[in-house]
Point group: C2
Chain length 368, copies 2
């Protein structure tokens, strides 16, 4: 069952029912504009990551500002975007289920789609699905540029897998997926720069070795909100895949980072119990604001700290000054925007204290 919208356009923010996902439209639009302005003079385009926003409404606003397409991690996310009008989608991930591959290829009628592989057995599955669908599927080779997760080794292994793809009458070699996930959260700019310098080196050598075999990379993609200036300036990457930049969260805010993005995403929560001095309980626990990257921060209320989460309760300590009163509503900055957005069915867009719009989070829960 879909959850009903927690607000209606025209309401004041303090009338919005809680917990709700608030999108500060001024900050959100400023973030989209800042990314577009930053990338314009570089050699890289934005292919924003929809695993963060889960919404074709957001995707199309990114594309109106120059993004060439969207990334997703899941076929069900690709479906939600394609059905919502997004014309170019890369599954920046491996897909090894025949049922999922058939679903992805079925989207080709309305959207350009591509996906990644890091294994010859996976390539064979894509090949079979493409043959069955009567299509040529575009496949990128994922290389491991330091994250230690998916991906073949850069260099000869990547060339071998790309050659396997290019040799198939049912497949098109689409380029390289070269994302360094763990580098996004290194706190110091120097640490991130060093990690990405190595990733760029692996990617550059792989592109060159592929070129020597006559294999051109239409897409060389990677990068996230923590590192994209490096990949964009590399001359090697032509697409960056940032997602969190549009919203920001407490984890990314802990990076020392340029260009600066603004907090645009908040969980609005209400004080449902104020049982003793210096302590209050919010109606937003870890189901409302997941804690995989730490607790949320209380927005613009110095002295208040979100200090504990259970399923449906958030413990608030007033460490300096009075605790908020029963019924008061507060904004929280989520610890991690991606899983937080994925808990809600609606963005509540707010400007100047008023609800301006409601946007459905169409790919909420799209894990398959």
């Amino acid at each position: 069952m879909l959850q009903r919208p927690p607000a209606e356009p025209g309401m004041r923010e303090e009338e919005v029912d809680t917990p709700a996902l608030i999108l500060d439209l001024d900050a959100f639009e400023a973030n989209l504009d800042a990314m577009a302005a930053f990338l314009a003079p570089t050699g890289a385009k934005l292919r924003a990551h929809a695993k963060t926003h889960k919404s074709p409404v957001v995707a199309l606003q990114q594309m109106r500002r120059g993004a060439v397409g969207q990334c997703v991690q899941k076929v069900a996310e690709a479906e939600a975007l394609a059905w919502g009008g997004v014309p170019d989608i890369l599954v920046s991930n491996e897909v090894v289920s025949p049922r999922k591959l058939a679903r992805l290829l079925a989207l080709s009628a309305i959207s350009k789609v591509a996906l990644c592989a890091d294994d010859a057995a996976g390539v064979a599955l894509i090949e079979q699905a493409a043959e069955a669908a009567g299509q040529r599927a575009t496949v990128l080779v994922e290389i491991d540029v330091g994250a230690g997760r998916c991906g073949v080794a850069p260099g000869p292994e990547a060339v071998a897998l790309a050659s396997r793809i290019a040799a198939s009458p049912h497949l098109i070699f689409g380029g390289l997926q070269a994302y360094h996930g763990s580098a996004q959260h290194i706190r110091s700019p120097e640490g991130r720069a060093a990690a990405i310098e190595a990733a760029i080196g692996h990617t550059r050598r792989s592109v060159e070795q592929l070129r020597q075999q006559g294999l051109a990379c239409a897409i060389v993609g990677g990068a996230g909100t923590g590192t994209f200036p490096h990949e964009a300036a590399s001359g090697v990457y032509n697409e960056v895949q940032a997602g969190s930049y549009a919203f920001m969260d407490a984890d990314y805010a802990a990076n020392e980072q340029a260009p600066p993005f603004r907090h645009a995403l908040f969980v609005l929560a209400q004080v449902m119990s104020a049982p003793r001095q210096g302590f209050a309980v919010l109606d937003a626990g870890h189901k409302a604001a997941p804690t995989d990257s730490g607790f949320p921060k209380v927005w613009q209320r110095p002295g208040l700290r979100y200090a504990g989460a259970s399923d449906e309760h958030g413990n608030l300590l007033a460490e300096d000054g009075p605790a908020p009163k029963l019924g008061e509503k507060l904004r929280l900055v989520p610890g991690h925007c991606d899983p937080t957005i994925d808990r809600y069915d609606w963005f509540v867009g707010v400007r100047n204290g008023r609800v301006e719009c409601l946007w459905p989070i169409t790919a909420r829960g799209a894990m398959q």
Copy 2:
């Protein structure tokens, strides 16, 4: 958008699309039967907690085995249950939003409803909503019996708030809510027994002081899967509110516990990448199996350990023996059943290796 069911009845489990929420029906039914058999000779009835299962289908199976009703934490959960045929629902939590109170009271036409309060200001809000709805609302007083979260102090404070409720022409005093949440996860039986002994003492004294004021407690409720034998044997509690017992999870399994319940809930995940020896990547990260109570455990595959989660990837280490192969499907025991169930739209009921049924998780995401 609802997610499509990942299976159809009759499929073999290994054909189920991933990630999916598997319910082992034999284990699930054994757990429901074990709780019913355990409680029958005690003075306590089960009012199972639906914040765990989020499904009227599960609720009605509990009630067919003797449960007197259901608990919820949220009004939106109460709606999902009432609309699904559950006739008796307690919001075991405070509700301070007039909009939510009106929604809850609107359910009275089809279901008995009650809720908790821990503040005179909150009672006044319920009173106004009841008057506006032309109803008498049943209100329990929540007392803090050691968890340090919501609730007034046991004893005189509880009596004062109960008297305030009983004096209102729009309200009915319904009893005490006396849940000790943090005691559920104390690992040793002795530690849990000691914590609950104190909680029972607070509750017993409060019930007695209320009785002296002519205030009878129709419900004295509390307890969870970790402690319910104590509350059930206390002679004071007449309702226990366990939820996780039906499913179990890795966190509750770490308790030394009797009666034993079986693991009935699993996340089925697929190996989507096997890039190097001793390591594989599953298609289930912390969006598919939240990590607030630790990583999931790999089910019946000794030597395999789930060692890291990102949004959509789970890192699997083969510490003894070979790593699973690309495309292989594994069951994971979630770290914490409540937030895990809340990520899915469907239970996939499995018996003897075959999908027997699909049950909608109607209150998925019901946070308001």
